[in-house]
């Protein structure tokens, strides 16, 4: 995305008209201008969602409460280094979007937060608790605070939609069948699916967008405090992308969930992000609000935003 500069068109305004908000990385003199254009686009995009993306959490915690998700100088390498000295913080109710080129280890960072992987050095803290040194069983419990939405939704294809969403409830709660059914319906309605239509379907019968939504419903079935999304909008058409993006924002706004989203879709990333982290060359080279990012004069960041 970043290395592909769109063909130069004589009149930049002309290109704007044709491509909507697609622009090439501009030299810094024009950077300011394009930043304001992006700003305008952003507020326009949020127009269909008056409450905006970064409403602060309705939950009440002290101002000095620890970050809900914190990565502290985390490094990880397999045969070769993958992540080096990664630090980021997500405060209560924030949505952190981790962007970067493909293959920079974005999904690996999510797996570190879930403790599916253990860092070589550094610490990962959830709600102020260090999860780096947990045993396998303790980690299973720690993951109860988190809901994860996988790239391909990762629904269990031997189970119906209902069983998929009920799975975490059956595993970890003592809820009765009626309660479970009610909870599953509630979650399906939250993700705008008709419970009666989809509940008994098998994952293979669903479309890509529906699978994603069922994946979100399963992720939030336990009412987790933290939601993690791995490429929630990849492989979806623009309309469905919009729906999923709005859904993630709704989750954050109505339930005050703290989210970490991995994405290379910069457009939807900007809509939902309270903070953006840019992963480049195994390190986080930028961490700040979308506005700060568009205002940045860094060449790589401008190239990266070229897609916007």
């Amino acid at each position: 995305m970043a290395d592909k500069t769109p063909p130069k068109v004589a009149d930049p305004a002309e290109q704007d008209r044709r491509d909507g908000d697609r622009r090439a990385g501009e030299p810094s003199s024009e950077g300011r201008k394009s930043a304001s254009v992006r700003q305008a686009i952003r507020s326009e995009l949020e127009g269909d969602d008056p409450a905006g993306g970064e409403t602060d959490s309705p939950r009440h915690r002290g101002p000095d409460a620890p970050p809900v998700v914190e990565m502290n100088h985390v490094s990880l390498s397999f045969d070769h280094p993958i992540l080096e000295d990664i630090s980021l913080k997500a405060m209560e109710g924030e949505t952190i979007v981790l962007v970067g080129e493909s293959g920079t280890g974005k999904s690996t960072a999510l797996k570190l937060i879930l403790r599916l992987l253990v860092p070589d050095s550094g610490r990962v803290l959830i709600d102020g608790d260090d999860i780096t040194n947990l045993s396998f069983e303790e980690a299973l419990d720690a993951r109860q605070k988190m809901g994860m939405v996988f790239q391909g939704a990762a629904l269990f294809d031997s189970m119906s939609v209902f069983e998929n969403i009920a799975y975490p409830l059956r595993e970890h709660t003592k809820m009765g069948d009626d309660e479970i059914t009610e909870r599953v319906r509630e979650k399906l309605q939250f993700v705008d699916l008709e419970p009666d239509r989809v509940m008994e379907q098998m994952p293979a019968e669903l479309s890509g967008g529906m699978r994603k939504r069922v994946g979100i419903a399963r992720g939030m079935a336990n009412n987790p405090q933290i939601m993690l999304y791995d490429e929630p909008t990849s492989g979806l058409d623009p309309l469905t992308t919009g729906t999923i993006t709005r859904l993630i924002m709704k989750l954050q706004r109505e339930l005050g969930v703290t989210s970490v989203v991995v994405s290379h879709d910069i457009r939807s990333a900007f809509r939902m992000a309270s903070k953006v982290a840019l992963l480049h060359d195994r390190r986080i080279t930028f961490f700040g609000t979308p506005e700060e990012m568009t205002a940045s004069e860094d060449k790589y960041i401008q190239d990266f935003l070229g897609g916007l």
Binding site: L76, F78, D79, T108, K111, L114, L116, L117, V118, P119, D120, S135, F136, E137, L140, D141, R143, Q144, M146, G147, M148, F150, Q151, G152, A154, L155, F156, D157, Y167, P168, E171, H172, R218
Partner: protein, 305 residues
């Protein structure tokens, strides 16, 4: 629980976590520059083999230990017993019947030269119960069930369903491996007994139709053979002990091998194919090799004759 820590994917095993291929880290700090290159390669190759073996045994240990640990996934066990046992009945019946028939046919030719065709029953029952029943049932199940398990777990791995299980707070070994291992441990001996029985009936058919041996004579020699092998605790024929021990071990080998390769799948759909192939080849070979050693062991432990 120290042993579980070594299962964490960052330390080598892809079983419980990442989709990233298993890294070979923690090389001991030998001075590589002073070794000839072929020795370095040999060292690495040997280490990866030992690591594989270690992971295999860790998986085997965990899956067996979880049989007795909560939560129990009884429904999964029953479903797997259906999958492994009941649905394999057809192929096991067929192989048993025709093996028994061909055994009777071949031995009738051989025994005729000594005028000893009345002993067909001895030959068929000894071969079926001690050897062919367990091994053939094992090989057929390895082909049918082992490949199925590896393909299923492999595709669950590449579509991140294993990670999803982990994320939802379920140990995939407990949920997926243990029910399969337990079901195989129970069902393979059952299938083998059926296989033996059908094989002996097949021998009976050929003995009476082709050789003209009366059924009563055939069944008497079958029993004589079993009784002559000696008894454990006065009641259980030695042959039965051998005939049940083997499929029990084979059931473990098939299911654990299939789960090991299935969960260790990397590299998309192609990886699933490779995992399936490796499962069938490895478990078939293991069955044949271990069969020899069990026979050797049991022949010296059980007092025959």
């Amino acid at each position: 629980m120290g042993s579980t820590e070594s299962l964490s994917p960052a330390q080598g095993l892809p079983l419980t976590g990442s989709t990233v291929p298993p890294p070979l880290r923690h090389h001991s700090e030998i001075d590589r520059t002073r070794l000839p290159p072929f020795l370095v390669r040999l060292n690495d190759a040997a280490k990866s083999k030992v690591l594989t073996l270690q992971e295999y045994f860790i998986l085997a240990g965990k899956s067996l230990r979880f049989i007795f640990a909560r939560p129990f996934y009884a429904q999964d066990v029953i479903q797997q017993m259906d999958e492994i046992g009941v649905k394999s009945l057809g192929i096991v019946l067929l192989t048993g019947l025709f093996t028994g028939m061909v055994l009777a046919l071949q031995s009738s030719v051989q025994l005729k030269t000594f005028g000893a065709t009345m002993y067909i029953g001895n030959l068929v029952s000894a071969s079926m119960i001690r050897e062919l029943g367990p091994v053939l049932a094992g090989l057929m199940v390895a082909g049918r069930v082992g490949s199925g398990i590896a393909a299923q777990l492999g595709s669950m791995r590449v579509t991140e369903q294993i990670d999803a299980l982990n994320t939802l707070g379920t140990d995939p070994i407990k949920k997926l491996v243990t029910p399969r291992v337990l079901a195989a441990l129970i069902m393979l001996p059952v299938l083998t007994v059926i296989n033996d029985f059908v094989g002996i009936i097949g021998g009976n058919i050929i003995a009476s139709l082709v050789v003209g041996l009366p059924s009563s004579q055939y069944w008497r020699t079958v029993w004589d053979q079993t009784a002559n092998g000696g008894f454990v605790l006065h009641y259980i024929p030695n042959d039965f002990i051998m005939g049940i021990m083997k499929p029990f071990v084979f059931g473990g080998i098939i299911s654990i091998t299939a789960c090991y390769f299935g969960l260790g799948t990397t590299g998309g759909t192609e990886g699933v194919g490779q995992a399936t192939t490796k499962t069938v080849v490895t478990s078939s070979i293991l069955i044949l090799i271990i069969d020899y050693f069990i026979t050797q062991l049991l022949l010296s432990v059980l007092t025959y004759g």
